[in-house]
Assembly symmetry: D3
Homo-oligomer: 132 residues x 6
Amino acid sequence: MFSVTVRDHMMIAHSLRGEVFGPAQALHGATFVVDATFRRSVLDADNIVVDIGRAAEELHAVVGELSYRNLDEEAAFAGTNTTTEALAQVVADRLAERVRTGALGDGALGLEGIAVTLHESHIAWASYERAL
Amino acid sequence: MFSVTVRDHMMIAHSLRGEVFGPAQALHGATFVVDATFRRSVLDADNIVVDIGRAAEELHAVVGELSYRNLDEEAAFAGTNTTTEALAQVVADRLAERVRTGALGDGALGLEGIAVTLHESHIAWASYERAL
Amino acid sequence: MFSVTVRDHMMIAHSLRGEVFGPAQALHGATFVVDATFRRSVLDADNIVVDIGRAAEELHAVVGELSYRNLDEEAAFAGTNTTTEALAQVVADRLAERVRTGALGDGALGLEGIAVTLHESHIAWASYERAL
Amino acid sequence: MFSVTVRDHMMIAHSLRGEVFGPAQALHGATFVVDATFRRSVLDADNIVVDIGRAAEELHAVVGELSYRNLDEEAAFAGTNTTTEALAQVVADRLAERVRTGALGDGALGLEGIAVTLHESHIAWASYERAL
Amino acid sequence: MFSVTVRDHMMIAHSLRGEVFGPAQALHGATFVVDATFRRSVLDADNIVVDIGRAAEELHAVVGELSYRNLDEEAAFAGTNTTTEALAQVVADRLAERVRTGALGDGALGLEGIAVTLHESHIAWASYERAL
Amino acid sequence: MFSVTVRDHMMIAHSLRGEVFGPAQALHGATFVVDATFRRSVLDADNIVVDIGRAAEELHAVVGELSYRNLDEEAAFAGTNTTTEALAQVVADRLAERVRTGALGDGALGLEGIAVTLHESHIAWASYERAL
């Protein structure tokens, strides 16, 4: 199995609902350093997993839809706890949709899986991985 | 599949038995930067893998049982080569026991796996992963 | 010259005023990984720059006064652009005050300088250094 | 499952053929920070995955066959696009061959898998993993 | 003293002349992860060292002039050993020129110094710092 | 001012004397990731700060004199608290002696300063810098 990973980041404000979150129930924020991993069993005709330039552009577009925002006021997240885990899934699902619609090129249609890791600090991170 | 990882560290002395260990047969020591990863397929009602505060506390407790010690004199390791690999399993198994007894909260009973990585330097690390 | 550095982090929400900040004029947030460096020319009687345990505790207290907050609503920052640079100075000055009042122990009175670096992402950070 | 990883690096020149590579079609170069991971289900009699000294030596030998070279002029890569993905496989396959022929010791014959990651920058890396 | 640092990277081919360089006398390559630090004693009216967006853009332009090239064939480096140290100076001097001509904005005219670090691997890096 | 840094590591056991060290008064250990920085104002005739190969070899020799040992039993440290700060000075002073006696080559006689950083974990490190 092969994989390629590209890294970007986003800076957001949000609050979390539920006693389990303690002080993070207050409005605060985070930088998420975002690693997006694309997987496939066999390389394409160019000997690559995915066009890394396009992969980086599409990841940048996806994190750009979230960055510099207060997620508490985004309609897309109404009623949703925007935990690191949940945001990892959002980024992965949005990348998967871009793969499906051809934004990463025809070669990317051979991708088999995506994993997204969001690093919220030097001591904590969360991941979500899914098939394509 | 979702995962959450928390990082801590421990500083121990020990020696290793066997020619394969070369100079590490002498009493020396290590800082292990410890990453504990908790996995599950579906998030809980709070949209999380595990209460990250409790996960960090329990990891800190587990590494605290080992840190600032000479492992050669710990009864728990009598007759055991305390390699990085073996210590990764010790940390993972002790965390798994804490999950099982509820120390990480009821939500953590839905966890499906644990992986522990011990970084012994900037150029070497070892991992152990297991089901829950 | 000797130095000791300890690392902690804080997660805050804020907005920045001024066209130069572009999209960061909107309410957003950041994780700041915070490195506090203590300097002195000569070690104390224990052969240390500072009691690293106390240094870590005081840094944790200082970042705890800022973390999990919306800095736009903190009285201490009314009328202030809470840029990474400015927050590095805030952390350094608050640590300096704690050194001066003895919170880091009598040995710390021999400290000569403090530097604080706030990492806002994997590709950007800011520092402030001052004498004691 | 246990694993041990060792890190080394190599510095090479090469060019890539195909429009997808854009400016990387010109002769340029890369430092690849190389992580080689060895996996097995059960530790050997010394409580290790592999003799980490030998693993580091063999990895160093494998990257030494590639480093400080222009891969465009290496017979082994004639007609091959030496992408990061492809080079990860080269390193993994050459390590696998060394495992098979006993260069990592008899204990290493119990290894079940190898994964190799090549970091080409702080924002991009590729991996290949295979069974043994 | 305040500073702000931004990180980018470049991938180049080159060879080095002189016995001291051993195998690096052959054509090979490197990824340089480039950190550019801007320093000043007093923040500007926006409470910043420099417009970090412009600083990142100008650094990207400077490394873009070098990246994906064989430096042995660049007229600018004819007769020059393009060591990591020398390239750090090139990047710093080119950034300094851009500061002087206003590319980083009028606020940047208050900058007092620049430092550039080029990381050539996980175990080696070089820096050059100069006044403005 | 130019600088070049090389990284290595050492793994030692020791104990520290004095109440300030709390649990670190017990025999324990550490991995120190060691960064040695060499500084000079003007590059030599090869356009370098120092022969990086020799610098790495000499650093490796210096840390090799300390690694895989119990520092409590080393005659060189009798009566000395082997704190991270103190060990940074030991490494710097031993490197300085090697520079002075020509082990890093004649070009290294133009070096003006050395700084050594010992990382004891992901959240703590100490440095010592001196003139040559």
